[in-house]
Amino acid sequence: MSEPAVEIRDLRFAYDGGPPLLDLPAFSLGRGERLFLRGPSGSGKSTLLGLIAGVLPARSGTVNVLGHEMTKLSGAARDKIRADHLGVIFQMFNLVPYLSVTANAALPCRFSSARRKAVGGDVSEEAARLLARLGLDDSALLKRRVVDLSVGQQQRVAAARALIGGPEIVIADEPTSALDADARDRFIALLSEEAERTGAALLFVSHDAALASQFDRAIDLVEINHAVGREAA
């Protein structure tokens, strides 16, 4: 438990042909920690998540995820770490339109045998159990096409999907920006509760600073990102 879930040192990143976007001397996410990351639009929040999830390759520096040095790994190895240890929730349009509600929640188990093993028994049962904990246990609702669910319901299905198989890290990229204040607060409460129950670290991204109080710790990307400072100067 001493080792953090995510540990970043001297990370530099720029998109091909673009200006330096990220220059992070240090960033860390503790095991089981619920961290709030804010920053204005275009500041590179999603990009940072992509680097942690191993979808984008860092230019220099180190990105350590659960003891794995991502910058030294091949794309395939990074993909495997993401499949086995990360849950991801997006801002909107989280679900695969042609899969049922339960199949969407169970999706990571298709790609990761580690997640399947972690579930232990029947994957759909576990998906249904998680959905029920998130308040989706109406059988008529579960039979509906996912595109016919409300946005709030879709986000809860996405949360169940991120949590299935007990990944160590859950990454949420503005998952509440399409919800009203009430639904937003309830969603964050449910997500935090479930993350705590499974012991997952939660990295929650939003531009809405008001949400910070609901998390263990809050950081502003602009403050820790030196690339922005240098550009401004």
């Binding site: 991801v88 349009f93 695969v96 899969l99 790609f111």
Partner: protein, 421 residues
């Protein structure tokens, strides 16, 4: 791989409108290809099994294919006949074991009439040296007896004892009817799947008898005044025959006998070996066959391209879906296989459907074609060709699927975790 296949199928089902159209395009192209191939093979088999056990067919000199077609398949007409003395010369040759003369030229309600001898029914063999057999009644005995093929009996509703009037030439009945000399059906042959089913068999003498008074090609006004008794008393030995089926004493002499007949000085004859003439026929038709096969292969290519089109056009609207799959742990290989499997599934289902449709169509249409043309399409049922075609089309679809798969893969790598529309 199994979970990716089920994902691919679910995704196709989600777009069932285009998926079904694509499958139909593939199915139709495969059905066309298999149909052409089966018709070709079936016709060859069917024609090839129409005559066996006859070493040579002799007729007046014309083309070998023409002689084969009119003497065996009742297609087309003889341009000239062989005189009776020449026929006797052939029959008397030392190397000839048996001969069956046939005389064509008359018809009855669209079915051809063939004058021949009783020997025809024992000497003529079809398929694997099978003999003709009588289903009901007996072979002709009286001068005005007729033995009809199974198709004639079935289509016209004739049975033993039915009386019928032959028509001079091959046109419609009426003025050209031999109505003063009606025939009686004495027997019906069992079905053979050859042109025999569509033939009316009478004795050679009967052909001579009905043409008494028709020497000029039309009815002589005096013809009716000649009574049946008088006709029966005439010498009814024919003056000419159309062709002669020949069996040899020893097969080894076949080329020598053929050459001797071909070069017979007193009359221009042509002797053909049925199998050889058939090969010549296939040589002629193979040009057209190859063109048809080439065209149907192109049509299959069009079907495959429609798979490509339908998947490529779906890629834009599925960009989001790919990002979600990537984020939830799908590796590039998963995305790639998903696309390839979708293409393969479209190709496979289309090919299976096409093979099914064409086999069903041939099972239904086969008997109709056989009744119409007298030659049944043999061996057109489901076969290895269908399996190979399904395999080849599925494989090609999988290979073609690599194109959209590659596009989707590169895009999903570049898009990262952010969902772009």
């Amino acid at each position: 791989m199994n979970s990716i296949l089920s994902l691919a199928l679910a995704s196709l089902w989600n777009r069932k409108g285009t998926a079904i159209l694509t499958v139909l395009a593939v199915a139709l192209s495969v059905a066309l290809f298999l149909g052409v191939d089966k018709a070709r093979e079936g016709a060859r088999e069917g024609f090839g099994s129409t005559i066996s056990g006859t070493e040579l067919i002799v007729g007046a000199r014309s083309g070998p294919i023409n002689l084969l077609l009119y003497s065996v398949f009742r297609l087309g007409d003889a341009t000239a006949e062989i005189s009776w003395p020449t026929y006797e010369m052939i029959a008397d040759r030392e190397d000839v074991a048996w001969t069956v003369p046939i005389s064509l030229g008359d018809s009855h309600r669209g079915y051809r009439v063939m004058g021949t001898t009783q020997d025809y029914f024992t000497r003529y063999k079809y398929a694997d040296r099978q003999e003709l057999s009588v289903a009901s009644g007996e072979l002709f005995d009286d001068l005005f007896d007729a033995v009809i093929g199974a198709e004639v009996a079935g289509a016209l509703g004739y049975e033993v004892g039915t009386s019928m009037v032959l028509t001079h030439g091959l046109g419609a009945g009426g003025l050209m009817d031999h109505d003063n000399r009606p025939f009686r059906v004495s027997g019906v042959l069992a079905r053979t799947g050859t042109p025999v089913d569509r033939t009316i068999h009478v004795s050679l003498e009967a052909i001579t008898a009905i043409h008494v008074g028709w020497e000029t090609g039309t009815r002589n006004p005096l013809a009716d005044s000649i009574s049946e008794e008088m006709v029966r008393s005439f010498d009814l030995t024919p003056r000419t025959v159309t062709a002669v089926l020949v069996g040899l004493e020893r097969r080894g002499t076949i080329l020598r006998t053929k050459r001797a007949l071909d070069t017979y000085p007193r009359e221009a004859l042509l002797a053909i070996i049925p199998g050889q003439a058939l090969s010549q026929l296939w040589e002629v038709t193979s040009v057209a066959e190859r063109a048809l096969i080439a065209v149907s292969l192109f049509v299959i290519a069009v079907g495959l391209v429609s798979i490509l089109t339908s998947i490529l056009t779906s890629l834009n609207e599925r960009r989001r879906e790919m990002s979600i799959l990537r984020a939830t742990g799908a590796r590039p290989g998963h995305i790639f296989s998903l696309m390839v499997l979708e293409a393969g599934a479209l190709g496979f289902v289309g090919a299976v459907l096409g093979a099914f449709v064409i086999n069903l169509a041939l099972a239904v249409a086969g008997p109709i074609l056989a009744a119409r043309y007298g030659v049944s399409l043999v061996g057109t049922g489901p076969g290895l060709t269908d399996l190979y075609t399904i395999g080849a089309v599925t494989l090609s679809a999988l290979i073609i699927g690599a194109v959209p798969a590659w596009t989707a893969l590169r895009r999903s790598l570049a898009d990262g975790l952010s969902i772009k529309l």
